[in-house]
Point group: none
DNA sequence: TCAGGTGTAGCATCATAATGTTATTGTGGT
DNA sequence: ACCACAATAACATTATGATGCTACACCTGA
């Protein structure tokens, strides 16, 4: 028991953060020296040789989101285990987290002892998941098999899809117009329709959606 | 509590089967009238109006396998929840089960009370999973998207990478500035540097590069 | 035949992005 | 001590994008 497991917390609600930190420090096998309200702050103190083994990460943070933060931390320090802590049931957030390398995903109503259990589970090589989350994950699996290679099909027409390809290629309206041999105003018109159908309002979002396979 | 939840069991080890059945029948909110050693036997008694809500299904059965059995039951009665019960850690069996519609996946060392908990979880819309199983599922997810494992490392600094994350999220300069709590002109400055380093000259190209893993 | 979607196009206007220039501060390396 | 560079910030200008409104030709299904 010479070495306690180092836990870090990123949570912008001070009461919750302090509560978890105090609880951690009451355990004789783990210790939480680093508790911050932002990913940026945590990254500021993380360096080789003094690395938390596990980070409890809130998703809904001011500044960088917990998901983006996790991606950053995972890319710099792949061995750090990250458990997402959130109030959201939102599927997209869940899959985004898991796909990006989260080691577990707990809903916030989870009790302190359950959080400790979750940490133990991660340290033993398991992955803690609230049952509701697990359900969504499984449903996701089932859907994948039921439709067998799903095609989101946002209802874009041929022409609109060609425009999207142009956007993904990083082209300007003018360049797309030239490539498709239509006027720039027609490109605008198509893009307006695409935005409506996809419920977005910038090139950036269209490109992101497309490259994520959501179109 | 007029209606007890109907549980069915398919398990070819008589001792285990009887044990689980007796335990179920000791609960005051659930009842197990149907316990068989094969999927075929269970299907023989399943009919509209007298349907178990949940089936505990062993994977390693004589005759039809538990996985095939589950597929069959799910195709005939999609509303029946099936929890797989097995000694196998084998990834292939796990994913096959989940993909085919299993509601949960428990390892056999699970204690009787834990099995009851698992059933409760399913009835509440969750999905029970042994932590080891959850870990495999998550690893599967990560493998799917994080296939690269390569960091091209375009020489972007931490701060610049954060900016890129913002761009990928479809944010405007203003939104990035707010999120990072810096001025919009600083965002511009960073983006100028990013463009130079990546040899691009639009948000669109940065987003595309990033999502293609070229950063 | 008529309504509705698609593809085309123009005009106008405001918002945002891209780029040039300059400057201060702090930090790490030589 | 000095240099390079990261991070911050301001100001200015031009380019591009986002969006509202209008219009017309073409098809297709009700």
């Amino acid at each position: 028991m010479a070495e306690k497991r180092q836990i870090a917390i990123v949570e912008d609600n001070v009461k919750i953060r302090d509560l978890i930190q105090q609880f951690m420090n009451m355990q004789d096998d783990m210790e939480c020296r680093n508790a911050f309200s932002s990913v940026e702050s945590l990254l500021g103190v993380m360096r080789e040789g003094d690395m938390p083994e596990i980070v409890l990460m809130d998703i809904d943070l001011e500044g960088m989101s917990g998901i983006d933060g996790m991606k950053l931390i995972k890319s710099k320090y792949p061995d750090v285990e990250i458990i997402m802590l959130t109030v959201y049931h939102d599927s997209h957030k869940i899959f985004n987290s898991l796909r990006s390398g989260a080691s577990g995903y707990l809903l916030k109503h989870t009790s302190l002892p359950e959080i400790k259990d979750a940490i133990d589970v991660v340290l033993q090589g398991g992955a803690p998941m609230s049952p509701q989350i697990a359900r969504k994950v499984i449903t996701h699996f089932s859907d994948g098999a039921a439709t067998d290679e799903e095609k989101p099909d946002s209802g874009l027409t041929m022409r609109e899809q060609e425009i999207v390809v142009g956007l993904v290629d990083g082209l300007s309206y003018k360049m797309i117009a030239d490539r498709m041999d239509i006027s720039i105003d027609t490109v605008r018109a198509h893009i307006r329709n695409i935005y409506k159908k996809l419920h977005v309002n910038s090139k950036a979002e269209v490109i992101a959606k497309s490259l994520r396979g959501e179109i």
